[in-house]
Symmetry: C2
Subunit: 383 residues, 2 copies
């Protein structure tokens, strides 16, 4: 086993140098933070930043922001509010667009292809509002997109900031590129430390490799559902990001493809644990745990703090699951800071890339989402 | 089949009159809204209402509030903010408790047992803060809980409002009781109409019965994962509520127990659809669709509105899934209002209750969550 593990590592690193796993190259590119900071330096400060993007253009940024931007910062009036608009619900958009102070709002349009219909539609809507309000679109929009496509044309037309994405970058592997790091810089997050953490995870490598090997072994044993189970409010949006990472990367054939599902600790002890414990034994669990928090309120009249409680609940749940025959793995973060978040991201990206290689799958493509889009276009054309 | 369907209905209704499905009795109790409104009339208006509750004490209320309280109301400063605190993350709680205007905050403690450790711990923390601020706890706390337990004692001690839950009511089936409707009334929601919609769904019955029969048939055919897939921001928290409803109610044995998972339309077309379309064919899909919205922005320069777009995407995705061999069902809401929301809740509760009966399961118990709690208590006692 030790040999095959080392073989796997060497083969994978060979593929990296052959340019098969470019998400790593981008994250390790020392010019990346400079490029982003230079673009940001041209922007005046806005009170609100709305990100128009969906799927891989949003989920990584949301996860990073939840983890590293101060929790509940939106309750403080002097701060910048970030809102990832990855929805197109008519009522939501109506209320949002009628309650915005447009003068104080900047929009970042993110799309690798440059013409994803949801963010493109919202862009058209907000562009019109900016123009109608007599404001300069050049100030209020920036773009993270490829060299071509609708958003690239718009960037050129209005003369706005345009951070260019390479064509080979897959959305769900793009958080450690301009996609995730441009909004992060605007939020004052230290992206150099995120990238430093990512580099450490890549150099270390074995954490990801062990996660991948265990995930696969358990999958082969019938644990076809992977529960991702963060015990931390600040890490809980990583669950959504990881679900896309695993589902879109590994869901390619009838014969293989784990189904990732989300549970949030300890909330889902009160919602899903009954099924995990006593239902069909087709699940494995990946916990995310935080050892030390920035703050830790004591519970009056008790001998425990909230940190004692949440970590005891995680341990209790993990032990009970193991006892019931539901295997678990845990990624432990000593503390939530930018370095740890970068490390977590790269570790999980490597895990999925390794599984893709083990399964002989086209990890970075997503052919299965075209059929629905085609029907949607036909319906819209005939409406 | 027609006969067995009618038999099933009759047997179930017999069980209802035998007192086996008490969640229906409570929702049909004409005194319920009066009791709640009387309690609410004693409360002065607060700017912020924080609900301390977890699992079944929170998920239904969250779903109702998202659907019926104006979207993004939190962006308007003159309104009441509702916050369901179903988390105990130390950093989150620290920031929250340091940013609250306690004078303007009311806390509702919800727990059927009356001593669930997470809301009880948070109550102790906020109670101390209220006392330290020289405020009267009687004004700032109310309780929705059983006749006994820690919360009931506290209610008595401080002389606060106490809405009493009957012991047989299961948390995940409690949204149409004081649990979900007390916060709803504070938000100005017409609970009489919610209950009217619930009554209609119960009288109609066959929608729920057909949903249950199809769910079961597909499960037996190997569609062991149920994707609940709302195409509406305002309905998306129903996914979390339904996941608990199905998981805790039906997850009782190794041999049977569908795994519900959440997808949000159209967001998850860009995150999970690849797996649903081309991965293992072990999934069935339950869509929630809204036909008409309150508002419907036109996209400038295009021949479609946002409603056209979201509904075309739902149809396109549904058609593509069916073509690929992933069966779907759709619950269509003509419009989101209180009656439709009540109808939806009762329909899905009946569906799960019917499935529980078909599987011969103890639908309203959750024995599988005790082992972890025991270990947690031991860890805390030894800390």
């Amino acid at each position: 086993m030790a040999t095959s593990k080392n073989n796997l590592k060497e083969e994978f690193l060979k593929e990296v140098s052959d340019g098969k796993h470019r998400f790593i190259d981008i994250a390790l590119d020392s010019e990346l933070p400079k490029r982003i900071r230079e673009a940001v330096s041209k922007l005046r400060k806005f009170k609100k930043v709305i990100i128009l993007g969906i799927g891989g253009s949003a989920l990584g940024g949301i996860a990073v922001m939840r983890a590293l931007y101060r929790p509940l910062k939106h309750m403080e009036d002097d701060s910048t509010h970030f809102f990832f608009l990855d929805q197109i619900d008519p009522d939501l958009i109506y209320h949002l667009s009628h309650n915005l102070d447009l003068k104080e709002t900047h929009f970042i349009s993110i799309s690798k292809s440059g013409d994803t219909i949801e963010p493109a539609s919202l862009y058209k809507l907000f562009y019109q509002k900016i123009v109608d309000a007599g404001l300069d679109p050049k100030e209020h929009f920036s773009f993270v997109t490829g060299e071509d496509g609708f958003f690239a044309e718009e960037a050129k037309k209005i003369g706005a900031i345009h951070l260019i994405l390479p064509p080979y970058l897959s959305g769900r592997f793009s958080v450690l590129s301009e996609v995730g790091l441009f909004p992060a810089v605007l939020a004052g997050i230290n992206i150099e430390e995120i990238l430093e953490g990512a580099r450490q995870a890549y150099e270390e490598f074995y954490t990801a490799l062990d996660l991948a090997i265990t995930q696969d072994k358990l999958y082969q044993e019938g644990k076809i559902i992977t529960v991702v189970f963060p015990y931390s409010y600040r890490l809980n949006r990583f669950a959504d990001w990881y679900i896309q990472l695993m589902a879109e990367s590994l869901g390619k054939t009838k014969d293989i493809g784990p189904t990732p599902i989300r549970a949030i600790g300890p909330t889902d002890q009160h919602a899903q644990l009954q099924l995990f414990m006593e239902g069909p034994r087709n699940k494995q669990v990946l916990f995310l745990e935080v050892e030390k928090h920035h703050h830790d309120p004591q519970i009056p009249g008790e001998n425990y703090t909230l940190e004692d409680l949440i970590n005891a609940e995680k341990k209790g749940t993990g032990q009970a699951l193991e006892d019931a025959g539901i295997p678990t793995q845990t990624i432990k973060l000593p503390y939530i800071d930018a370095k740890a978040v970068g490390n977590l991201i790269m570790t999980l990206e490597l895990q999925i890339a390794l599984l893709g290689k083990m399964y002989g799958i086209e990890t970075y493509k997503q052919p299965g989402v075209e059929a629905g889009k085609k029907i949607t276009r036909e319906i819209l054309q005939n409406s």
